[in-house]
């Protein structure tokens, strides 16, 4: 612990000295520019500048985590409700349904937000559907494989524009359907 303290003390002193010299300020300025240019270019619309600079900044953005996009409810918030159910057919023929958890509005939603995000990916991307369906099957049918079929069902409800009196239109889609082998 004393070694860590001494190292930390030396780094602090070294940091202060670097900040005071022109060379140090030049090096820090270069670091600042790299971070800022990466952040700004990452957020540019598709353009010649972005295409030109991306090969250089993409590795930096991914490696140190400064790659970023701020499309929260943008360019548009979703204009339809999406309900995802996982229907597992058990060996005795009974169907068990699992739905995305919705936490309480004070603390629970910080936990439920992760499930909400997962649901978005399940709806929009293929690769996560199979592991997700298999995980729910294990949860409902147990680890010894008491299920014969699993389906991910998406129910959508188009939201009418504000001011409109039109009724919401609904639709059901099967996102994933797998007949499971008997153990």
């Amino acid at each position: 612990m004393r070694g860590v303290r001494r190292l930390s003390q030396r780094l602090t002193v070294a940091g202060e000295e670097v900040e005071r010299t022109s060379l140090g300020q030049g090096l820090i300025s270069a670091l600042i520019l790299i971070i800022l240019i990466t952040g700004v270019v990452w957020n540019l619309p598709d353009s010649a500048v972005k295409r030109q600079v991306s090969p250089v900044i993409t590795p930096i953005g991914f490696a140190i985590g400064v790659g970023q996009s701020w499309g929260v409810f943008a360019p548009n918030p979703p204009r339809q409700q999406e309900y995802v159910d996982v229907v597992v057919t058990l060996r005795e023929g009974r169907e068990a349904v699992w739905t995305i958890p919705h936490g309480d509005p004070v603390f629970g939603y910080y936990v439920a937000e992760r499930w909400h995000k997962l649901k978005e990916y399940v709806v929009r991307t293929q690769p996560v559907r199979r592991p997700f369906a298999r995980w729910v099957t294990g949860l409902l049918a147990g680890p010894d494989g008491g299920a014969t079929r699993v389906r991910i069902v998406l129910r959508t409800e188009l939201l009418p524009a504000p001011g409109s009196t039109a009724a919401a239109t609904t639709e059901t889609t099967i996102l994933y359907d797998e007949r499971l082998p008997r153990p």
């Binding site: 860590v4 602090t12 957020n43 991914f62 943008a74 548009n76 918030p77 939603y109 910080y110 995000k117």
Partner: protein, 348 residues
Amino acid sequence: MARTHASDSGGLLAAAVDRWSGFWFQPQPMTPLGLVRICYGLVMVAWTSALLPDLLAFFGTTGIQPEQESAPYAWGPLQIWHSDQAMTLTWAVLLLSSAALAVGWHSRLAALVVFVCLNSFIRRDIYVFNAGDGLLRIECLFLLLSPAGAALSLDSRRRRGSFWAAQVRAPWALRLFQVQMSIVYLATVREKLSGQTWNEGTAVSYALRLYDVVNITLPQWVVMNPLLMNAATWAALAVEIALGVLVWHRRLRPWVLGAGVVLHLSILVTLAVGFFSWSMFVLYVAFVSPEAAQRLVDRVRRRLDRRAEDRPGAGTATVGSATAEPVTAEPATRAELVEAPDAVTPTG
């Protein structure tokens, strides 16, 4: 003529270099950085705690994502070490290092550990994290680069004898937080203006009717009222533009940040967007001036001192709890030291 032109551009360049240097390197007390670190550490303690109930469901060997998907530059210990024990241990280390960061105990090291663990989780299962989580990662990188323990920290107490002490340092890392805030708001406004609903003024209505995002269901006459929803949508855009641009105007800053706080509190109450609003508030704290931060610290300190004096048995100390602290545990660095006006007076 040519010489005048050259000397003009030379003068402009020198002025630009001066302004750059003044903005990033003009020393100032690190009290705001101390506040940023404390807030960030507390948010990370909550973030890590919220991960626990579903830790193994998301990341475990029998979970939804048993192994990390391969992606370029996506380094992280959990990529190669992905047992359930590794997951639980990484979670525990993240919780402890976040708490260490909040109190400023070996702050730089704590920031490094938080950065590695946070990155590991985000990369381990990309399907469960949102923009707020990405922002927390960026903020951690800035803390890692900064003298995070230079104020309001156990590091300060160990080095200078007082938790409340603040070094005077170049604020470049603090400025990164500030510029990051402008990038977030300007980027989101640009993105929103490329869509239809923000331009039409209906976006807020749609967002408030999403059953799995809504915390409080507002009445239909509110969310379906075109005029109200126009006003709410365009007001949100206006506040975001102001936060991206006008926050740099010293006199407008408190008003702009106040409007931002109202915006994000409204989001917190009505919509479930995880830790996004909290991670934005961390950026807001970076805009607190050193003077305002010091006034806040003094107020907290006075309150703590008064509480310590009121405690039965207290009476040996002259200025409350802080008097028990050793004055100098280790040689101070060369940086200037700023102490609160009612500085520590040891009574022996």
